[in-house]
C-alpha cells in the first residue's frame, strides 16, 4: 500500500500556500469562522512544527518580495527633453508596479500577523490545558496521600488498642 494520503495532503497544503499568497483567502476571514467553530466544539489546535514552518516560509517569501522591489534606473540618453520624457514614463510605469508590490507585501505582513496571533492564542490555550492536567495529577496525588494518612492513623489506633490489651 503506497503512502498516497500523505502525498495528496502535502500537495493540498502546497496549493493552499500558493493561493494564500495570491490573496485568495481574505486575511482573517477564514480564521474568524474557524475559531468560532473551534470554540463551539472545544477544539484546541496543537501548535506543531508545521505551523512554525509555514510562518518561516511566509517570512522568506516576504523577504524575497522586498528584495525584488525595483529601483528607478537612470536614463543615459544625452538629449535632455527626450531623457526627461522617457524617465517620466518609466517612473510612472515603475510606480504602478511598485504600488501593486507594496500592496502584496502589506497583505503578506497582515497574513503573518494574523497567523502569529492565532499561533500564540493556541499556544496559550495549550499551556493552560497542560497546567490543568498538572493540577489533576497533583490533586490525585493529594487524595492518595490523604487516604494513606487516614490509613496510618487507623493503624496507629489499632496498635494502641492492641498494646492496651
Amino acid at each position: 500500500m503506497t503512502n498516497r494520503v500523505d502525498k495528496v495532503l502535502a500537495e493540498v497544503k502546497d496549493d493552499i500556500m500558493r493561493r494564500r499568497e495570491a490573496g485568495e483567502f481574505a486575511v482573517g476571514y477564514v480564521e474568524a469562522f474557524e475559531s468560532l467553530h473551534d470554540a463551539e466544539l472545544g477544539k484546541l489546535r496543537p501548535v506543531g512544527d508545521s505551523g512554525v514552518a509555514e510562518l518561516q516560509s511566509l517570512l522568506d517569501r516576504l523577504r524575497q518580495r522586498i528584495d525584488s522591489l525595483s529601483s528607478i534606473e537612470r536614463d543615459h540618453v544625452r538629449f535632455a527633453p527626450v531623457r526627461f520624457v522617457r524617465e517620466l514614463a518609466m517612473s510612472r510605469h515603475q510606480l504602478i508596479r511598485l504600488n501593486s508590490e507594496v500592496k502584496a507585501i502589506a497583505r503578506a505582513i497582515e497574513d503573518i500577523a494574523t497567523r502569529i496571533i492565532a499561533t500564540e492564542t493556541t499556544r496559550t490555550t495549550a499551556n493552560l490545558k497542560a497546567a490543568d492536567h498538572l493540577m489533576e495529577v497533583v490533586y490525585e496525588r493529594t487524595m492518595v496521600m490523604e487516604k494513606l494518612l487516614v490509613l496510618c492513623r487507623e493503624m496507629e489506633q489499632r496498635i494502641n488498642s492492641l498494646e492496651q490489651r
Binding site: L9, V12, D15, I16, V30, F33, E40, G42, R45
Partner: protein, 407 residues
C-alpha cells in the same frame, strides 16, 4: 465464559455508537457460546433518561437483559448549567462537585450496587461500556477486586475526560478494550492507565447489503448531482454546524452542482440552504444506498472513538473526508489510506477539490479502505481480540489477588 455487561442504554431501538457496539458485542459473544447478562436502564433517550422499557429481565437475541428503572430523570437545563461550570475547569472541582455533575448527567439506576453484586455472583468477568456515565463510574468500584473488571472506555480527548473522578475508576480495571490505537493513547495520557489492553475495533458484516445509489437519488430527488454524505447525529457537537459552514463557503468559492446530504437523528436547527439536504433517519438499506451514491462520506466530528459509519463507507468502496482534529479519525485514514483528514477550511476546500477533480484518486482511496476493513474488522477477527482481552483481564485479576493475599 459468563460475561456481565453494564451499559447505560440497551436495545434495538436505542440509537448511539457505543450502545450499538455493546449490543453487537453481546450478541456475538452469545453466538460464540458465551453466556451474557446485561445490566442496563429502562431508558431509550439520553436527553432525559425517561423510563421507557418495562423493568425486569428480558431476552434479546440470546442476551439476558436486566432492566432497572432510572431513579431520577435528567433535567437538561440543570445539567447544561452544571456541565458548563464543570467543563470550564474540571481539574479544580471538588469530589462533591464531580459527583453532583455525574448525578445530574445520569442515568442513576435504582439499587445499582445490589443488582451488580447479585449478577456478578454468577459471572466470570464484568465488562463496563463507556467511561463516561455513572453506570461505569459508580459501578466499577462495586466490583473491582471481587471479579475481573474490563472497561471499554470509548474515550476521546474531550473535556469530560478531564474530570478527576474517572481516573481511579479507570485505573481499577483489570483490562481495557479499545476501539482504536489512538483511543489507547488518549486513555494512557488522560487517565494514566497501565492495565493490559487490546485494540478490538468493531466488527462489520462484510457481505453487506445490495446497495443501489440510483435508488437513493430517485427517492430523494437528487438527480445526477454529485453529493457529499454525512451520516450520524445531526448535532452541533458532532461538528455538523462547522461542516455546513465550510460547505456553504466552499460553494460560494467553487460554484457547482455539488450538494451536501445529511442523514440521521436531528437534534439541531438546520438552516434553509438549497444545496444542503436533510433526508432524515435512514435504515440500514437506505444508508447503504446513500453511501453507494455519494462522492465521499464526510465525518466532521472532533470526538470519535471509532466511527462505524467510516468503516461502512469503506465497505461500500467510498473514500472519506474526516475531521483531522480527531486523532482517531485521522489515524484510521492514515492506516487504511482510505481517506483524507482536513484541518480547517482551507484544507477542507483543498480535499473536496481533489476528490472531485481526481476520480482515480477517489476510487483508489475507496479500494484501500475496503481492503483495510476486510482485513481488520470482520467479526471473527474482532471477537478473537475481544476474547483475548477478557482472558487478559482474568489473568490480571488472579495475579492481583495473589499479590494482595501475600501482602
Amino acid at each position: 465464559m459468563r460475561v456481565l455487561y453494564t451499559v447505560h442504554r440497551y436495545g434495538e431501538e436505542v440509537v448511539g455508537g457505543a450502545e450499538t457496539a455493546c449490543r453487537l458485542f453481546a450478541e456475538k459473544l452469545v453466538e460464540r457460546g458465551h453466556s451474557v447478562d446485561v445490566l442496563t436502564s429502562c431508558a431509550v433517550s439520553y436527553v432525559d433518561w425517561a423510563n421507557h422499557y418495562a423493568p425486569g429481565p428480558q431476552v434479546i437475541n440470546g442476551v439476558q437483559v436486566h432492566r432497572v428503572p432510572v431513579s431520577q430523570q435528567r433535567d437538561p437545563a440543570v445539567f447544561a448549567k452544571l456541565h458548563g461550570t464543570m467543563m470550564r475547569d474540571p481539574g479544580k472541582s471538588t469530589i462533591a462537585d464531580q459527583m453532583e455533575w455525574l448525578d445530574a448527567m445520569g442515568p442513576l439506576l435504582q439499587g445499582q450496587e445490589s443488582h451488580l453484586r447479585r449478577l456478578a455472583a454468577r459471572a466470570d468477568v464484568a465488562v463496563f461500556m463507556t467511561y463516561l456515565y455513572p453506570t461505569t463510574a459508580y459501578g466499577v468500584p462495586v466490583l473491582a477486586g471481587d471479579i475481573p473488571v474490563v472497561i471499554q472506555p470509548t474515550a476521546h480527548d474531550e473535556p469530560p475526560a478531564r474530570v478527576p473522578f474517572f481516573i481511579p475508576v479507570m485505573r481499577s480495571a483489570d483490562a481495557l478494550l479499545y476501539l482504536t490505537e489512538e483511543e489507547g493513547d488518549v486513555a494512557s495520557r488522560v487517565f494514566g492507565v497501565s492495565a493490559p489492553s487490546v485494540v478490538t475495533g468493531i466488527g462489520l458484516d462484510m457481505d453487506g447489503l445490495r446497495a443501489d445509489g440510483m435508488r437513493f437519488r430517485q427517492k430523494h430527488n437528487l438527480g445526477d448531482d454529485p453529493y457529499l454524505l454525512y451520516v450520524g447525529r445531526v448535532d452541533t457537537f458532532k461538528g455538523v454546524s462547522e461542516l455546513m459552514r465550510y460547505f456553504v463557503e466552499y460553494k460560494g468559492r467553487n460554484p457547482s452542482s455539488l450538494r451536501l446530504v445529511l442523514a440521521g437523528e436531528q437534534v439541531m436547527e438546520l438552516p434553509d440552504v438549497t444545496d444542503i439536504r436533510y433526508v432524515g433517519f435512514l435504515d440500514e438499506g437506505d444508508k447503504a444506498d446513500a453511501i453507494d451514491g455519494c462522492i465521499a462520506l464526510i465525518q466532521p466530528s472532533p470526538y470519535e472513538s471509532f466511527s462505524i459509519v467510516l468503516c461502512e463507507a469503506w465497505r461500500g468502496g467510498r473514500p472519506v473526508l474526516v475531521q483531522g482534529f480527531s486523532e482517531v479519525l485521522a489515524g484510521q485514514c492514515l492506516r487504511s489510506q482510505g481517506g483524507l483528514p482536513y484541518n480547517g477550511f482551507a484544507e477542507f476546500e483543498g480535499c473536496v477539490r481533489r476528490i472531485l477533480d481526481d476520480p482515480i484518486l477517489a476510487t483508489e482511496l475507496g479500494a484501500n479502505g475496503y481492503e483495510y476493513v476486510r482485513k481488520n474488522y470482520s467479526w471473527d477477527v474482532v471477537m478473537e481480540r475481544f476474547e483475548q482481552g477478557l482472558e487478559l483481564g482474568r489473568q490480571h485479576h488472579i495475579s492481583k489477588r495473589r499479590w494482595s493475599t501475600r501482602a
